[in-house]
Symmetry: none
Subunit: 241 residues, 2 copies
């Protein structure tokens, strides 16, 4: 086992099983297990909502009880959105994902339980888990769709694998200062020709304003070429050549 199993306990709507399968596969999870789905299994209604994740449905394993579904696991998380009065550690989806990677890395086997749409997991199912995985939600509107709960857990699992894919500051093709100053001088020259500045004093302050504006725009080389073409076109330089 290299990834957690997702176990849907007594899911009601087959459509939601399909949605959950799609959500899993979006984040690379494929081990889907079902405990006594209300409307039987296999169920054709799951197929359209799986939107291409059909092989997860085909390979899904069916169990009569939660006990059987978790038999091969060494660590089980029970997903809830409200507090349960249970003597167990409670973790966020992110912390759960980190723990799962740790456990799987040490050769353990992990599963995450999700309860039926209407009511969530029973206390008898939560008792079987080691850890409560509590999804933090708006307390005034905490009814989370089954597939939404599955996608949040799957997403946290996935992103803990690419911790080093942070924030990309755009600096691709940043212009050289020579190009930037060439642009500044070009626009100033054309404004001079058009009589924009009117006086030497005004020229000085206006030039500083324009240079700051261009300096701080983070222009690329290509963008500077584009701006110079625009200046040429607006000023009539292009035609006069």
């Amino acid at each position: 086992m290299t990834q957690p199993a997702i176990i849907l306990v007594n899911p009601q709507m087959a459509e939601n099983i399909g949605h959950a399968a799609r959500a899993m596969l979006n984040f690379g999870l494929t081990d889907l297990r079902l405990v006594s789905p209300r409307d039987g299994w296999p169920n054709h209604d799951s197929k359209s909502t799986a939107a291409g994740a059909d092989h997860l449905l085909k390979n899904a394993r069916l169990f009569d009880t939660t006990e059987e579904a978790i038999a091969d696991c060494t660590r089980v998380f029970a997903t809830t959105v409200r507090d349960r009065d249970m003597p167990k550690p409670v973790v966020t989806p992110h912390e759960a994902a980190c723990q799962m990677r740790d456990i799987l890395g040490k050769g353990g086997q992990v599963a995450v339980l999700f309860g039926p749409e209407r009511s969530g997991l029973t206390n008898d199912d939560v008792v079987l888990a080691d850890t409560v995985l509590s999804i933090p939600v708006n307390e005034g509107f905490s009814s989370l769709n089954l597939a939404q709960a599955v996608i949040l857990v799957s997403y946290e699992w996935f992103i803990t694998s690419d911790e080093s894919k942070p924030f990309i500051e755009y600096d691709g093709a940043a212009a050289s200062k020579k190009e930037l100053i060439g642009l500044m001088e070009h626009v100033e020259q054309q404004l001079d020709i058009k009589g924009y500045f009117r006086s030497r004093g005004r020229r000085e302050t206006q030039t500083r304003t324009i240079r700051n504006l261009l300096q701080n725009s983070g222009l690329s080389s290509q963008e500077i070429q584009t701006l110079r073409g625009i200046i040429k076109s607006l000023s009539g330089e292009a035609q006069s050549r």
Copy 2:
């Protein structure tokens, strides 16, 4: 503005607008804006999937163009699941959430754009954004449902307000659940024989207490064998065989 606006650009299915509204409200977001929904607006089909988030639909603001929908914003994020060849910074949902809180805290106005189900945002819409919000997904199955994209962004927004919680270490010697449940059933069976539970009501609560105790004891395989030997010995099973 104290939270980001969620802008659905040309959404196709009204059901998905309802799902998106529910997902927003799960994480406390309420400013929903729609740019030219394909099937018109208001649309009755959005109501059942909103599952109680109806006031978001009723208060949703309708615009003809993306330009009008973002007019009051100072910072716009464009949600994508694949790389766009655009000269813009690219951030994860988590980084976007941190930036949004920072910008809103300084009095700025923030919006997040989501494109239509089939194709995502057009490049013309991405151009209007300051920052690309890229949701990391399984490259082999990257088609993310609209409401799923909305919930991931909303969730990250919500949890950046949440204090982080402690991490619990894994005990590498843990038994499998099959062994653990075997122990639970064994002790319950012997207690039944001895008349320990006295009544059905007491059996239920006592069983839960015992199961939690055993579950949370961090038992190893070897310890479970030991306990089963103890039960056999105490109950007299060993001699009767």
